[in-house]
Each structure stands twice: as C-alpha cells, then as structure tokens.
Amino acid sequence: MPKFESIDHLREYRRQLIAKRDPNQSQVLVCAGPGCLPMGSEEVAAAFREEFEKNGLGAKVLLKECGCHGLCAGAVRVLIRPQEITYQQVTPGDVPEIVEKTLKEGQVVERLVYEDLHTHEKAAYKGEIPFFKGQMPIVLRKLDVIDPTSLDDYLAMGGYRGLRKALLEMKPDDIIDAIDKSGLRGRGGGGFPTGRKWRICQDVEDEPKFIICNGDEGDPGAFMDRAVMEGDPHAVLEGMIIGAYAIGASKGYIYVRHEYPLAVSRLQLAIEQARESGFLGKNILRSGFDFDIKISRGAGAFVCGEETALIHSMEGNIGEPSPRPPYPAQSGLFGKPTVINNVETWANVPEIINLGADWYAAIGTEKSKGTKVFSLVGAVNQTGLVEVPMGTTLRQIVYDLGGGIKGDRDFKAVQTGGPSGGCIPAQFLDLPVDYDSLQSVGSIMGSGGMIVMDTTSCMVDVARYFINFLYEESCGKCTPCREGLKNLLFILDEIIHGRGSEEHLALMEELCGTMATASICGLGKSAVNPIRSTMKYFKDEYLAHIRDKKCHALVCRPLLKYTIDPETCTGCLACVRECPVGAISGKKKMAQELDQELCVKCGLCYEACQFEAVKVE
C-alpha cells in the first residue's frame, strides 16, 4: 500500500485498482459478523480454505471473511459472487458440496438456500429474498462484500472518495453546511442535529478541539455499531477525518466497549493502514491538515454511553455524568470543545459528502432524514440487521422484513431504544418509524435496537428486567436515579411475588414523574420509559399479577407451579441432574415426583426435559 502524496495520486491508484480487478472474479464471502461468528464462521471459512487446497482452487477463488450479511437468522451465511447466490445455515460439512456443485459446476445447492416460511418458495439469489429487497443500505452497503482488513477493498468500493471531495472541493464551512442540509441527526439516541453540533463546536474559540466516536454501544439488543466497526472500520475513520477537518479538530478518539474485542482489533488495524497511506497523520493528502485517531477501550459501564460520563472516564475518572450546560461541544474532553457522535452517525458522513446533501435529504421523513439501521431481534422469524429509510412502518419492519412472529404466535410489543425506550403495542404497528413518532408513543429511537415480543413475554417482567439493568448500571451520583431505581425495583419485585397492590402502581407513577425531570442525565431521566409504557399499554398484565396473582405469560416464577406428569415421564433423570435444590426424586426409569415445598421454580427441569413431562401453570 503506497503512501498517498496527493489527491491525484489517490485517484490514479483507485483507477488502477478497479481496472486490475476482474468483475467476474469468483468469490466466497463468509459472514463473520456478530450473528454468524458465535455459530461457527471461523470453522466454515477454514473448511473452505481446506477444500480449495484439495481442489487446487486457491488461486482461482477468493475467500473473504467479512462483516455482517444482515440476515442473522440463517447463520452461518455465505455469499457466492459474482452470481450473488446466498447460502444459509452453512456448516463445515456443507462446504465440499458447495465447492463441488456451485464453484465447479455453477449449480445451486438447493437445500442451503432461503425458503419462504409461508409460501415455501425458494430464493437462491440475494436480490430475490424479501428481507433484502425491502432495504436501503447506505451504512451497511459494503459490509457483506469487503474484507474489513483490506484497505484496497474499501478503496475499490469508493472509500475515501468523500474525504477526497471534502479536501479538494470544500471549505470546512461547506462541509458543515452540507451535513446540516442533509438533515442527519445523531444515531446514538438523542437525535440532535449533527450539523448544528459541529457548528457549535467550530464556533468556540478555543484550541485544541477533539472529536470522539462513541462506540460504547451498551443498549441490550443493539449491535449495529459493533457490526459497522467490525465490518467496515474505514467508513468510521473516513467520517471522523471529514468531521475533524470541518470542525478544526486535531485529535480523535474512538471509545469502544471492551466486550467488543474484534471491533477493537479491526479499528486498530484500520488506523494503522490509514496512517501508512496518509489518510491520518501530518499533512493528510498534502492538504496541510493534521489529524490522528486513538482507540480508548471502555471498562464496563453502561452509563459511559452518556457523553459527559464518557469524557470523564477518558480523563481517568469514574464515569459519572455532569450537569449540562456546558455541553461537550463547548467544553468537553480536557475542558476543550469536543464533538461526540456515535459510530453509525460517523459512518453516514462519507456518503453524504460524496453523494451530496440533497440526495440524503430526499430519503426519510420531514424531520428525520436518511436511513436507520435497526437490529431486529426477539420473536421474529428473520432476525438480523436491517437498514431502511426513516418513516418505514413497524409493520413493514416486523412482518415484511422480519417475516412475522415465530411459530405464528401473536405479536405483543416491540421494544425500541434499549433501557431508555419503551414497549410499543400492536395498535401502533402502522406507525412510521422516526425520532418524533417513537417519542409520541412513549419510546425513543435509541441506537436502533428492536426487540419483538410475542405472547410468551410478560410485560411486568420486561419492565423489571430493564429497571434491574439500570439499577446495576446507574452511577449512583444523583438521588432520584439512585434511590428511585432501587425503589422501582423493590416495588416490581413485590408485584412479581404476588405481594403488589394498586397503590404500588400509583407510587411508581409518582416516582417516575420526579425521576424523569430531576435526574442529572439521560439514564435516570429515561429510565422511567419501560415502566411508563408498559403501565400505559399493558395495565391488565400488572393487574393480573396484583389482583389474581397470575402471570399469564408463565414468566414470573414466584407465581408459577411446576409439576411432573407421571404419564409422560420416562424417568431419564435429566431433570434430577439439573435441579439445584434436590426437589425431584424417584427411581430410575420410573415417573419422578417434584416436592413443591423445596421447588425454587427455576425452571431448569422444564428446560432439561426432552419429553415435555414437566408442566407449568
């Protein structure tokens, strides 16, 4: 990789690179994204390597382990180019057949292709699968085709073209104007207009200025930032370099969760490549502009997603937020003007500069422009990452892309926005999703997690889950959040144990009112959303727990009763081995008995039983 001495040099290199590449090159792209990696991507890739060797295909077929292919439900996914055939649920055992049939003979392995759940129609080519057809990938565009460790791959897909344009044709003010005009808003949750944030920072007369990429993606159920950092790290860097040039920042930091080790190493490699090629460092592309990026690893605190807490932890302190104003754009890291945007926001920037603000602003709704990446998980058939224009309805996302609810059960709610968001019931399925509409129904966009729930989820349990999560993650600095969460958790526990009263509901409502207004930061302020939204839309479930002492979804353990059906029990003793309290007894190969006095209702027996002999009510 050469060090690019000028913008022309870069253009010439890219021209030659593209000319050298054969568009009909045979490629096998194994997904190694967040969904496929835990299902064995590395083993599948290794099997391909071995098979190529055996068949002497090593020089002919290009093998890449790339970022997220989107449709995680079919992990491990493999894309064969140039035909654009996609295979799913690929195991190392399937690899010889793929090599033999597809790579050598050009045929499709029917048993590995996508099949529509309802019509049972098969679709071998990416363009035919409804999950992909309904999307508009901008941020995710390159994820399934580039090797994230190859700068050449990024350049061949038009990478650093946005930077080239920014440095060659635009003044810092023009860039901020373009971002402003594009309507881009922060993708991390708050939805603050990105251009305005940059302008505030640019206007402050203080130096040096910093920019930070917030990769502390902590919302449970959201993994788009992980996918982007792992799958297209240069896009994040390019966005940051453009932003730094516009604002006049000399140093940038990427703050990544330590739970994302692969993201850290991919970004580190990308930074080194960018330095070697002259995209980072002194006098970038001979423009006279100096900028460099460092990685900061998070140390495990959800609250550090909040920008002031993040800054404190980067300064070597505990991650306690501080009251705003001043805003980080005025006084941030080391007291200097600092722009913080999240991963997805930065990754949008190169495309906006490259293709223009008007192009971007034409996508989306009146107040929410562009696309948004959602992680669609939970009770849907087709889980994965989707990128759709703002304003796409929940129904389109859940049913058209997600393929509806698993097992044809009924949709109950979709949880958006992580612990700061709310549960949206079926009556709002036709809601066009954007920042404002989600807020109007008591939730938020957040970073884009969408957890679909069916009738097997208990909404009181869901509220308790989030309150418990936040109770453990609250920094404990301010009274309403610290003491409020403790008491919300206590009350919800009372309800779940059948000791709740209707006064408890009123008290929670009152407490939520103060937490929402008087907490220091967003964590405490929005902690009330999971409770408020479930109390508003699913009050009958709370009342069932309180009045009838019943959890109809069979989730809240203290209200459940486990029994063993003597007719179906085979006496295999699988349940006996799992039971942590020795409550199950009986002879081998005979029906077992469960002692109700001893039972702690953990449900391990229920899960261990292969014969459905353990019953629950």
Partner: protein, 150 residues
C-alpha cells in the same frame, strides 16, 4: 510484586493522569486482577491519588481487586437473551461450577460473570468463554461447552 511486568505496562504510556484507565486495563489483562501493591506504584507514577484509583477500580465492571480464574465465562443478559432464558443459563452454570455470579471456582479455573449485552442478539442466549462466542447456548448445551475448557 512483579515490578518488571508492571514497568513493561507503564512504558507503553506517557505517565499522564488520563492514562489511568488504559494502564489499569493492561494490568487487569495481564494479572487477571488489580494487585494492591501495583496500584500503589501506578498512583505514584501517574500522579493520581490512590482514592481515585480505588474509585475507578470499583466503578467499572471490568476490574477486579481479587484474582480471576483462568477462563472467564460471560453470560449475556441482554434483553433478547433474558427473554430466551439467559437467566437459566446463569443458574445452570452457577449450579454446575458451584459459584455465584461474580466469583471464581476454588480451583481458579472459571470466573462466572454476566454482561449487559454481547451484541449477538440474533443467536440468543449467548455466552462467551474468554474471547470465543457461543450462540444459542441453552441450558442443555452448557455441559458440552464447559467440557471444552476442563
């Protein structure tokens, strides 16, 4: 105290107070915990009060003041994993290993922890042993996964 080991870590940084968290992370990675004597040296070298170090070490989940086991098991309790029985996976592991969450087995082989979200929600429930992810790791798969590390 293993001073050369600590020196190697400190030499990667410029000795500024804002290097505190990266230094502690490196110590945690290298020693599997934050030894008190080492923290004393860090306090002097970075010119950061010991109180601040103690605050930071007890605030962030990644740090431990007591040694952790050879293998770190992290069970995801993100929303999707919670809904799909992540809690039961924790109980099963806790029962099999004979330790509570946050503790290390007597033989120092395993530390059992839970984590807010591992970001592999589509394959819930998910767990991680060291740097390796395991998807759809339901209770019945727990013994098989543990076997790989015993």
């Amino acid at each position: 105290m293993d001073l050369p080991r600590l020196e190697t870590i400190l030499s990667r940084y410029e000795g500024e107070s804002w290097d505190l968290i990266p230094v502690l992370q490196d110590i945690q990675d290298s020693y599997s915990y934050l030894p008190k004597d080492e923290l004393q040296v860090v306090s002097e070298r970075l010119n950061v009060p010991l109180t601040q170090i103690y605050s930071v070490a007890t605030f962030f989940k990644m740090f431990s003041l007591i040694p952790k086991g050879k293998h770190q098991i992290k069970v995801c309790l993100g929303t999707t994993c919670h809904l799909k029985g992540g809690g039961r996976v924790v109980e099963s592991l806790s029962h099999r290993l004979g330790v509570e969450v946050g503790y290390t087995t007597k033989d120092m082989q395993f530390t059992l922890e839970t984590v807010g979200c591992l970001g592999s929600c589509a394959q819930a429930p998910v767990m991680m042993v060291d740097d390796k992810y395991y998807g759809r790791s339901t209770v019945d798969k727990v013994p098989k996964i543990l076997k790989l590390y015993k």
